[in-house]
Symmetry: C3
Subunit: 674 residues, 3 copies
């Protein structure tokens, strides 16, 4: 298994390299990522290359027996490039040009920038494409991060118009599908179509969604330009990857992933803007997303946080144990390599306060020792563990286009896509279920339950898959605002939930956006919800049951007794509809009922604890993690005697109820019971 | 009486028109507004017109016996126009140009835009000006809405300079009246005068007020261009109106109204940004404003909300009963026609979530039935009711220039013009008084009481009218910050309240702005206020009584005992001065005293209940409305036996104390007691 | 002693001048500042001067025996200048040009603007440089105020590049010291270096700090241009000063002060944006800053608030007594002249609501009488008092570059430089200690204690001075984040607190930024802190004591027991390190211990009371002020019998415990005990 560090040899005196590499060696590091911000060093003026320092660094690393991952340096175009070709700079929604001085200051819709990018990538490929120590490449760095996903300049507008021409063929078709007859927006010339710069009110939602698709496609093709340039010049054994972030960007990571050998992820459970780490379930869901980006394929964590992070603002200091916990969580959920960010905190530049395994003074201390412990603990089992497969239990729906549609029209000021997704994901996580994220293309056959929250932008083929899944006996849980839109971001003319109405066995005639401080109230009337009650948030669909039975109803002066949660038999399957932002307690009860009836066996419920079950050959693995920083948690192990996978001998036996101190993580294993 | 809908035939397949018109017919709809956003449809390229679809729609509507109101489509200039003449686009205060993609993307100070507007208006007038089914015209749509009232581009600057030249004649006069000697702003060339773009601090308040006047005048003349173009070409029987919004814009609705046959209003008691409807008194005041816009003349509600509204954010769902309540409130306070917005929710475009009588699926349901009920209930009495006159009781002062002056200098961060106006209006509304809004030109003779809140920008002729009114025996209630400014937005050099000092019988030497969390404390010492006390907000005028008597004083470490509320005899009249943002309870007590002493008879006080008294010939009408969504309210009827005006026979008799369930509204009538 | 007013004769009819001057005379005013915003009056077109009105005003004032301070009018470039040379306008960080219409609308990096400025200054100097009545000059007005300290236009960029070339000599040196190898920012041409306009993320902190230095230097050289132009033409007896504000601007007041005869300060303890006055200690610290700006030299308050202030927002009305209190505070802490802002509130222009001694109606009332009282009370002792010297007790560190560095990287969203400085200053103020502010150049020998809070940007020479000070027996109190950065804004590679580690006797290996609602908890374990405990905010340095002893530790799940406050013996001295934003109670206890052990005698502790001790010849002075608006406070006088310095005879004797009513201030005196 690869365990590495992100290293910036160019930022340190060469005299220090030796100390650094020896310390890495001592830790057990076997791979180093370098070079991804080195453009101005490698190409100090247009077309003139200077690889001396990079050559030296690669050789030096290789001399310690470590491998190298090289980043293409296109995330930071040099000052000379911007000076010579200012047109490469991106433009904000308000018309302001983003200047030189940080990173990601380019638009992928600049042809000059694509050409400049291709040249440096080709030059690097030629130089390092056959070098033994170089095992692979990372293209650019965190595409689209820091609002660089959308650009609104004249070059972007022209590219958008070309993209639309390609998509729609005729203006008549575009006008019809966008509904430009509304507000007199009929286009008679492609050149009239704007990028969505500031207007007095709001743009056409169909244009906005297509603009997001266009922005995503532009990055996909930019990346393909890089992978093509690399593949034509590098050894087949060298891989190509890209380190993604998943933060609601106008990016289609799955599409980009088609051109990569595998994907990578930059894992920061807490960063500069945060007082505390995000919820364990939110981290877990990001790993599920990584696994879903390339059809379940394992991925690298190319940047795994190792210290407090931040630019001008510094975030929460990860506590002792966090580093191992987040590493174990990543590996348990599908990461196949871990590269820690960063070896040592930089003394200068914007990221001075991105702390690493070493801090500014370069002395190994607590974090160094923690990394050492992690690597040692993984050694006995990691290679086998990476081969272990996940059980198929719960499929969780996610489609970036749906997220974009919600961002375009949140409909309630209390709606946030990540928060609502977490509302429906977290109880499954707390119930220790194995979740996979799926989009259109995945085979859903083996799942027991699908959770499909805020499925606002509904696509025909997906709708059909849902029907087939339920027909065949599966359980689906939908939420409020299901089936409202078609792929053009146009509202269905069928009664809600549109094409899913029969599947859910309901109609929705009225709904209420819960804005500001408003909350709704719900009372359970049947099944697991019978006798319960509580608040509900964000939105109320007032449901008319057709064939569905009612599990909970609203308490409301005017819509009292209207159905809030329903359950429908469809074919051999069961379809739930949760018409509101239900409180966690009721949602948890509902999930327990649904999961149990779907044949899944419940183990325990604990929001701080995360367990992951995998199996390799005849060995069962159980990852057990306590995310609480304050309290020890109890975990009831599945039947049998388990051992600590890190221990070569069976030094300790674990069975029944075990207690995990705060911030501890462990992988257990036992022979499969056959 | 006209009851109609806003309809967009161009947004639906023609096959659907029949269903729509039949449903409208079923409801009793007799007028349909169309066309106000159809420019790109009607003039697909400059000078080339295509009226086919509009012809067809008008004919089709007419074939059902309904009338048509045609909107001129200038609120949405087509894409080709913006492409060809980008100079028509408006410019924000920060220099950013507002782009194509929504609506109202034009500055009325563009000569090209005026010419293009005139051409399309003339073409429509020629085509439909003699058509039987067309009964009238709406110019443009909601002038100035969505911050389109002010534009800061070079064309606007030139027009502003021309407007100033016209107003002042000489730079010497302008320099003197604006006080440009302050901060070295003496202009020596008209071309030096800026529009108020971003500066390090704040512009000269005199320039700012003139800029608002200029913006208002520019729209008035733009509208006159349209009405002139129409009147020269249309039948005399066709009316011309415009649908206003009243939200503190740089617009002089009264001036625009001079060129209209009557005014219209778009009535949205709750919209996309609101968690709940605005206060009933705030809606009532907007209707008073409508009635005041053209000397008491009745008006149309051209857009009456019929469902939840919003763009990317959806507002509160109006509850069952709201639709009737708000319709009744409108008609009771002076609306002569109601046009519901909109027939059916659009499936595409920015206003997808502006719900209508029908929702996206086009099926008649609750709201359809509510409209049916409203129309049926109005049928027996509406035509007579519209003729009924209002008693003259209380005049409430409002001058847009005063509002602009406050917006320029709010003086306390707790000051909001709408909130302070509501502070002084609401208790009169709760006391079920009949209020009219007045400006300079109205005859005030018949009023008993004038309420003149936050009369900051005081004008000589108005001051004289107030003196005459009090002299003759009337009662006036002024508030803090009265008489501070003259018409040039310059502070008076007389002791405050300036020209009103003698009228109020006081002087104000010191005052304190209550910012942030600061509140004041007041204790009543005489009359209705004796023995009371409580908080006060926003502002404290510390009053020196000259001839006035003191009704309440401040409790303050340093200004303890200084007068806060005073009452002065002036001629035969009485003048109150409320020196602070007094709490509602004390203000209500003060109003009761003032109204009673002025000879008005008090009935009841209830902030949720609204009653309107009118009389037509020998019939008295009493509209009774309960705005509460939760509680039934009791209403003590005036003497006599009342009947439900909607019932043809005297099926029920109402007398004495009646109980109104939540969200109910009724018009009662009885023969006048003579 | 000079006591004056800021007067604007050009804003009033000449008929009024007589009344104004007679009223001033009646008060005892002896100096009048005029002219600082009169450019468009004096130079109505380029190169053509009109001094008639100013001549007349100066003569008129002189005819009353009063002196004149003339302001150069460059803070308000005329409209004709901006029309002719729009390039003088400043540019915001977002690229927006600041327009004409308020004040300070120029960049000092415009060569045209410097030339225009020089011409008007020279013309004024020629005309008034020998005039008897004119005793001195104020250059411009409040340099850098209202965000005018930084400009980001092309002229600024060029000047910045030139400044960098001058500073670094070679790009290699700049690249190395800024660390431009980070994120590929290596500059190969000076013209590539940006001003810090908007980027996707954040600029290099080294560039940002140099940009602040550049902006400060640009103003210093602009001011020097004015003082050179003046000095070449005016009498030696005429002084030159500038009225500073101290609000974290990119300004180096001390550098500017080198070209002035003395500095001035505009003292507004409450202004338009504030609900209440700032903390007494915050005002006191500003006076300390004034005294520190030119090596302890006395200064003028050129604008001393005399009424409520504000532009479109009006601030808190200063209560009766405030005017005297703030005047006494200023004089007690080093002001040598007081000029009240402003004589009378302007009727027009942006500052209509900057109230003065007279309000808009021009009638003398409360504030007039208060000023009369102040002037009369000062008369008996002021001249002697101004000569009195301050005891040297506590030196308080402040370096604007350190403040800029913190503004560039606050590191916690709870960090605010003024708030943290107040945290460490206020307890010393409450303990009635005499504080001086020092930077690099001051001689620290005589101080007993140095307080050095948030010493983030540490400079070598300063570090050495600290060591020498402690070595020699002094006490120093450092805070968290000491010694992190070097002068290039680069993080030290030594273990924290870097070069100060040995001095403090500690190391800091880990730290935690307390963001959002997070607080820390601390428990005292020794000395004055033993047995105490409480919250801590903003930041936690987890301290490893090396030679220091531990006074308090953290209570934290993971870092429990880590040192939070330490005390180290260094040479003959004592060095405290306060590793967190400690609560006031614990900090106060710590200060008491530190001050007492350092040989200072504690008198009392009261945050509302301020005492200042000075001595002149054989007279001791004690200023005693109660800042509370609500409560009387007790003050224990130092031994002996004191008299009221305002009383010529010993009418009252003060000794022992005296009681001060709210908002009272008094200067006591007694013969020195020898």
């Amino acid at each position: 298994m690869y365990i590495g560090v992100d290293y910036y040899p160019e930022q340190w005196p060469k005299e220090r390299w030796k100390t650094d590499l020896e310390l890495m060696k001592e830790l057990g590091i076997n791979v180093v990522r370098i070079g991804e911000f080195s453009w101005s060093l490698l190409e100090p003026e247009e077309g003139s290359y200077d690889f001396r320092l990079l050559d030296e660094a690669v050789s030096f690393i290789a001399s310690y027996g470590m491998k190298v991952v090289l980043g293409t340096p296109t995330a930071t175009p040099p000052a000379w490039l911007v000076q010579k070709y200012p047109e490469v700079l991106p433009v904000q929604e308000d018309g302001q040009t983003i200047g030189f001085g940080a990173r990601r200051h380019y638009t992928v819709n600049s042809r000059v920038f694509r050409r400049m990018s291709r040249h440096i990538v080709e030059a690097m490929a030629r130089r390092y494409g056959s070098l033994e120590a170089v095992i692979g490449w990372q293209t650019d760095n965190e595409y689209g991060h820091e609002k660089s996903d959308r650009s609104y300049g004249p070059r972007d507008q022209k590219a958008f118009q070309d993209w639309l021409k390609e998509k729609y063929g005729s203006l008549d078709d575009l006008n019809r599908r966008w509904g430009t007859v509304f507000w007199s927006q009929i286009y008679t010339d492609w050149a009239q179509i704007p990028v969505p710069r500031k207007v007095f009110q709001e743009h056409n939602p169909s244009l906005l969604l297509d603009f997001d698709r266009f922005c995503a496609d532009a990055y996909t093709s930019y990346n393909k330009m890089q992978t093509d340039a690399l593949r034509a010049r590098i050894d087949k054994r060298q891989f190509i990857t890209h380190n993604f972030v998943y933060t609601g960007l106008a990016q289609d990571q799955n599409a980009i992933a088609e051109d990569l050998d595998f994907i990578s992820f930059d894992n920061y459970p807490v960063w500069g803007g945060l007082a505390e780490p995000i919820h364990p379930a939110a981290i877990a869901r990001q790993h599920d997303l990584c696994r879903a980006t390339k059809q379940g394929k394992g991925y690298w964590v190319m940047e795994e946080l190792s210290g407090a992070q931040g630019w001008s603002q510094i975030g929460y200091l990860p506590r002792p144990g966090h580093l191992k916990l987040w590493t174990y969580q990543a590996i348990s959920r599908g990461a196949e390599a871990i590269v820690y960010f960063r070896w040592r905190a930089a003394r200068f530049g914007t990221e001075q306060f991105c702390h690493g395994i070493l801090d500014h003074d370069g002395k190994p201390r607590r974090k160094f020792e923690e990394v050492r412990g992690v690597i040692q603990s993984l050694e006995p089992f990691a290679d086998d563990f990476l081969e272990a497969v996940f059980p198929k239990e719960i499929g969780f729906y996610h489609d970036p286009e749906n997220e974009w549609a919600w961002n375009i029209q949140p409909q309630s000021d209390n709606f946030s896509y990540p928060q609502e997704v977490l509302r429906f994901y977290e109880p499954a996580h707390a119930l220790q279920m194995q979740t996979d994220i799926f989009r259109e293309k995945e085979d859903l056959t083996d799942y027991k339950v699908l959770i499909v929250p805020v499925y606002f932008l509904a696509k025909k083929e997906m709708n059909e898959k849902f029907k087939q899944f339920a027909e065949a006996g599966g359980t689906i849980i939908f939420s409020y605002r299901t089936g409202v839109k078609d792929a053009d971001n146009v509202v269905t003319d069928q009664t809600l939930p549109g094409e899913l109405a029969e599947l859910c066995g309901i109609e929705v005639h009225e709904y209420d956006s819960l804005r500001g401080e408003r909350k709704g109230s719900v009372r359970g009337v049947r099944g697991a919800l019978g006798g319960t009650g509580g608040n509900t948030e964000v939105w109320c669909d007032f449901i008319e049951p057709i064939s569905a039975e009612v599990l909970a109803v609203y308490e409301d002066t005017w819509f009292d007794g209207k159905a809030a949660v329903t359950k429908n038999q469809y074919g051999k399957g069961t379809v739930y509809y949760v018409g509101s932002g239900l409180n966690r307690d009721m949602l948890l009860r509902l999930y327990k009922e649904a999961f149990t009836e779907a044949g899944l066996s419940l183990q325990m419920e604990n929001t701080a604890v995360e367990t992951v079950r995998r199996a390799s050959g005849d060995v069962d693995y159980l990852s057990v993690m306590n995310h609480s920083t304050e309290t020890a948690e109890h975990v009831e192990l599945p039947a049998g005697s388990w051992k600590n996978a890190s221990e070569k001998e069976n030094e300790h036996v674990f069975k029944g109820l075990i207690t995990l101190p705060p911030l501890t993580s462990i992988v257990l294993q036992k022979p499969k019971i056959t």
